[in-house]
């Protein structure tokens, strides 16, 4: 049986962006939030260090410096109008969160306290500035809880543990007018109009068809493409992959951020806040090596630079440990009360997982796949764009799965939480405004709903009935190993070519995987198989995009092209699938509002 | 499967402060009992020849004084109140089903009521010099 629902706005994902969008949309339109997890399980909760806003509560700061830092941090691949929106709306976004109840740490005079963070500077790079508003080292946790609390307060409707399975599209020519800044105005295009989604209710195994005027993707990143990652097991890029399968493009997918300080061997995140509070990275000789890579702001350089510095130290034989495979994070010189008050969670991670006491011992760290800068290209109001840059009617995206692009080639720490709040709100408002102007959908008949879900029914049936085949975990492990080895911190044309060959082979094997669990309820075995399909799609797009970009910029480091090439490569990569299934690449200009690219020194 | 009722739709609506009052009573009677029981044990067991001096005459002698009448009445009320309240929580925690709980609490209430009635009756109607009793068993002031 297929259940039918009819809403104005359907939001996929209940993390920071999804719930912020829901708070906005639900006051204006009938809104449902579909989430594969209970909302408070979302990975926004793992964000630690802070959320950027030039409040200037503890020292002088201004919006313009924030814009500049964001653009420079993103290695000039940031759309500068988007960076302006991000920085300009940051203070309101943070104050708004405070009014919702977020328990920020406070200054002695009762205002929101701020700390230093990588890449955030005063006077265009002169010195680090205290711009990150924080709640101990669990800022993301507090944002997630606060948003969920307000969703409870506003009676937002959640469909928890529902998995997005498909987008429902309508292929009629449509006009785009959501009030967004679509340069093309009312251009008629043949891009599909999105009219709803098909979702799987994990608890019952039933399929649900949700009709909606606007669907907002807020499904987060795709870090599970890699083996060593700070990302949750659920971050399989569902929204990005299904957008791709609907014939729409993804942008800048070659740019993956490797966070410098993951717990060595595990990938669990140790916040940059550790360095913001004064922590120092040391190699096996005890040398604070960041001075060699960023003489000015040293350990507070942007993440791509620090991650490469660590990887370089290890490659050149100055790593620590029996295999010389990691470096040390040293916070032993910080007062214990500062560690307890400002870094309690990450010190506990070191104790729990590595048995290291950060008060007195160095913590082994190594870069870990952390954030996908790329994603679904959108307007400044969160509306998705097709391959010819026309807005897609009925589809919006916000947060990590979107690419506005405010992060360019490398995201600054604390800008992602800000991104979810600012562009989550914008997408929610735009989607609700668009939906409000539409006539309600005629509710689908049972037969129409079955038709809409037929592809999903077939996919699920095939997975549940196949008796012989490889295990999901085995294929997934191989994919992740390939991506770690060949498309990680350092890349070459050869490694990326190898990666693509491997992905091609893995895709063939994926076609005949088999699952053990044939039950209906809570069949996580089948769900993991479907997620693996998304990962394979996205890995292919990442490697293909990375191979085309023959330069090193931000998080994308090509050893065969070690410098940035503004003359030849100052464009966004746009990737979509052709009818024959191959990944096709296009280019899109970067929006420049006057910040000309310069050498990125810190 | 253990169902959960909506808190707003519980069958029995307990007055707002009943549980708070009961919690406070538990602490107050607890503290009171330490003093009362301590005093009781000290007088009865540690003075004179200890437990060997406790006999009819001893008890009658105490109850001739209004001070000890009030002391023992308080001991009776605090002890039964504290114990009954404790039993009530035990019933709440361990007896399953609203009806069974109510039944047990009623039984306990009746028993407590009987004990309070009997106890106070004894304290206030006690005759220290019953007619015809051997004089060596009676308090010294019986004439």
């Amino acid at each position: 049986m297929i259940h039918r629902h009819n809403y104005d706005v359907v939001i996929i994902g209940a993390g920071g962006a999804g719930m912020r969008a829901a708070l906005e949309a639900s006051t204006h339109a009938r809104t449902a939030v579909i989430s594969k997890l209970y909302p408070t399980r979302s990975h926004t909760g793992a964000a630690q260090g802070g959320i950027a806003a030039s409040l200037g509560n503890v020292e002088e700061d201004c919006v313009e410096w924030h814009i500049f830092d964001t653009i420079k941090g993103g290695d000039y691949l940031v759309d500068q109008d988007a960076a302006r929106v991000l920085a300009e709306e940051a203070c309101d976004a943070v104050v708004d969160l405070e009014h919702m109840g977020l328990p920020f740490n406070r200054t002695p005079d009762g205002r929101i306290d701020q700390r230093k963070f990588g890449g955030h500077t005063r006077e265009h790079g002169a010195a680090p500035v205290r711009r990150a508003c924080y709640a101990a080292d669990r800022t993301g946790h507090m944002i997630l809880q606060t948003l969920f609390q307000n969703c409870v307060k506003n009676n937002v409707e959640f469909y928890n543990e529902f998995y997005l399975m498909d987008l429902i599209t309508e292929n009629s020519p449509v006009t785009a007018d959501d009030g967004a800044e679509s340069q093309q105005g009312n251009t008629v295009n043949t891009t599909p109009r999105i009219t709803g989604v098909v979702a799987l209710d994990l608890a019952t195994g039933d399929l649900h068809v949700f009709q909606a005027h606007a669907v907002i993707m807020a499904t987060g990143g795709a870090g599970k493409v890699f083996r060593t990652t700070s990302n949750a097991h659920c971050l399989t890029g569902d929204g990005m992959a299904l957008t791709l399968r609907a014939g729409l493009p993804l942008q800048d997918m070659e740019f993956v951020q490797f966070h410098p300080t993951g717990l060595a061997g595990l990938g669990i995140l140790l916040s940059e806040a550790a360095r913001g509070e004064g922590g120092v990275l040391r190699n096996c000789d005890g040398e604070a090596f960041m001075v060699n890579y960023a003489p000015n702001i040293k350990d507070l350089a942007p993440r791509d630079i620090v991650a490469r510095a660590i990887a370089t130290e290890v490659r050149q034989g100055r790593g620590c440990g029996p295999d010389k495979s990691y470096v040390h994070l040293d916070i032993t010189h910080l007062p214990r009360d500062v560690i307890d008050a400002k870094l309690p969670d990450i010190t506990e991670f070191a104790r729990t997982y590595l048995g290291v006491e950060p008060y007195t011992e160095f913590v082994p760290t190594y870069p870990t796949a952390h954030y996908t800068m790329g994603g679904i290209p959108t307007t400044l109001h969160g509306q998705a764009l097709d391959a010819s840059q026309n807005p897609v009617t009925g589809l919006y995206a916000a947060g990590e799965c979107a690419c506005v692009s405010v992060h360019g080639a490398n995201r600054l720490g604390t800008n992602s939480l800000l991104d979810t709040i600012v562009f989550g709100r914008r997408a929610g408002a735009a989607a609700a405004a668009f939906a409000a102007a539409q006539e309600p959908h005629a509710t689908l008949t049972s037969a129409e709903a079955s038709q809409a879900a037929s592809a999903v029914v077939a996919e699920l049936a095939a997975l549940r009935t196949r008796t012989e085949g490889e295990r999901v975990g085995q294929v997934r492990d191989e994919l992740q190993t390939v991506m770690d080895t060949d498309a990680g911190v350092f890349r070459t044309d050869e490694s990326l070519s190898d990666a693509l060959d491997s992905i091609k082979e893995i895709r063939q094997r994926y076609a005949s995987i088999a699952v053990d669990d044939r039950s209906l309820r809570y069949n996580t075995d089948v769900v993991e198989a479907i997620e693996l399909g998304y990962l394979i799609d996205l890995a292919e797009v990442m490697a293909t995009s990375a191979r085309q970009r023959r330069e090193s910029r931000g998080g994308h480091c090509r050893e065969d092209f070690p410098t940035r090439d503004d003359a030849g490569h100052l464009w966004h990569t746009v990737a979509w699938r052709s009818d024959d299934g191959t990944v096709t690449l296009g280019r899109k200009p970067v929006v420049n509002e006057g910040y000309e690219p310069m050498e990125r020194k810190y | 499967m253990i169902p959960r009722r909506d808190p707003a739709k519980r069958a029995v609506v307990v007055p707002q402060r009943a549980e708070l009052t009961s919690w406070v009573i538990m602490r107050v009677t607890g503290a009171l009992l330490i003093v009362l029981v301590g005093g009781h044990l000290a007088i009865n067991l540690m003075t004179g020849h200890g437990v060997h001096s406790v006999d009819f005459a001893f008890v009658s002698g105490k109850w001739a004084s209004p001070f000890w009448q009030v002391w023992d009445l308080l001991l009776l009320l605090a002890g039964l109140g504290h114990g009954a309240n404790g039993m009530r929580t035990v019933i709440n925690d361990y007896v399953r089903g609203d009806r069974a709980r109510l039944t047990w609490k009623l039984v306990m209430g009746v028993v407590v009521a009987i004990l309070v009635a009997l106890g106070s009756l004894v304290i206030f109607t006690h005759d220290p010099c019953p007619h015809g009793a051997p004089a060596d068993l009676l308090p010294s002031f019986c004439g």
Binding site: L37, Y38, P39, T40, H43, G45, A46, H99, G101, P103, F104, T107, G110, R111, I112, R138, H141, Q145, Q149, C151, V152, K153, V156, E157, F158, A203, T204, A232, I268, L269, Y353, R471, G473, Q474, D517, S519, L520, R521, Y522, T524, D525 | M1, I2, P3, R4, D6, P7, K9, R10, V12, V14, Q16, R17, A18, E19, L20, W23, N92, D93, R96
Partner: protein, 264 residues
């Protein structure tokens, strides 16, 4: 090293309730559909024990063990997981009889040479294997108005001021990740599913002691009746179970004192 893992397997249960937050009716339906039978209240979950043998490192998380079992031996093994490092609260289960997060418990923490037992949380309906229905738990959460209710007559354009001392007053309860380890460790809940439970009290505390909040009395009302704070028997199970080291019993004590102070 070779380890033995005994997992409580529960076949998929009919009538797993839907979890639509905001639609209060769904919680009721879940309750109404289930008769309150004596059998339902048995302390052991339904199902059977299944024993697995596998290789593991002493530093492996129990979650790693579960994922390896699912990936290599038995895909039907069902459990929740997400972040893998104790911040999302998905994988609270009973490990060797104690409520813990599977991702914060290492094989070496459990003592060598004996089988590791994994069971679903007690006191919530088991849906399948280690997965329990969270809806009753979230209903308790909603009952204490778990959101800031500020005086809106004076909303400033900047942040509301709060001193570091005022912030410190409730900071410990902001750490809650709603994993249910505390509530399902409470013996009062095991026999009385209507009990508000420690998690909801922690989340009431988070707002009652927030200097910006003005709705303490309304939360006290929700915590006042026979299923509220006065039912706490201070067994300290919750404090011991909390993976976030929240001193829950102390928190409940603070609530009781605040409620008495308010009543006087």
């Amino acid at each position: 090293m070779e380890i033995t893992v005994k997992v409580r397997r529960v076949p998929e249960q009919e009538g797993a309730s839907r979890s639509v937050v905001g639609a209060e009716s769904s919680g009721e339906m879940a309750g109404a559909a289930q008769p309150r039978t004596g059998k339902a209240r048995t302390s052991t979950a339904p199902g059977y024990w299944q024993t697995y043998h596998m290789e593991a490192k002493p530093t492996d998380r129990i979650l790693d063990v579960l994922m390896a079992l699912k990936s290599e031996q038995d895909g039907t093994l069902t459990f929740r997981r997400s972040c893998g490092h104790g911040i999302c609260g998905s994988d609270a289960i009973r490990i060797n009889g104690k409520n813990r997060l599977a991702c914060k418990t290492l094989v070496k923490d459990l003592g060598p040479g004996r089988a590791i037992t994994l069971e679903p949380l007690k006191g919530l309906p088991v849906v399948k294997d280690l997965v329990v229905d969270m809806e009753p738990f979230l209903a308790a959460y909603r009952s204490v108005l778990p959101y800031l209710i500020a005086d809106t007559s004076t909303t400033p354009t900047t942040e509301r001021l709060q001193s570091p001392q005022e912030h410190a007053r409730f900071e410990k309860t902001t750490k809650c990740i709603l994993c249910a380890a505390c509530t399902t460790s409470c013996p009062v809940l095991w026999t009385n599913p209507d009990y508000t439970g420690p998690m909801a009290m922690v989340n009431a505390h988070r707002f009652v002691f927030d200097s910006r909040d003005v709705a303490a009395e309304e939360r006290f009302a929700a915590l006042s009746d026979g299923e509220g704070v006065w039912r706490c028997r201070t067994t300290f199970n919750c404090t011991e179970a909390c993976p976030r080291d929240i001193p829950i019993t102390e928190v409940i004590g603070e609530l009781k004192r605040a409620m008495i102070a308010q009543a006087l």
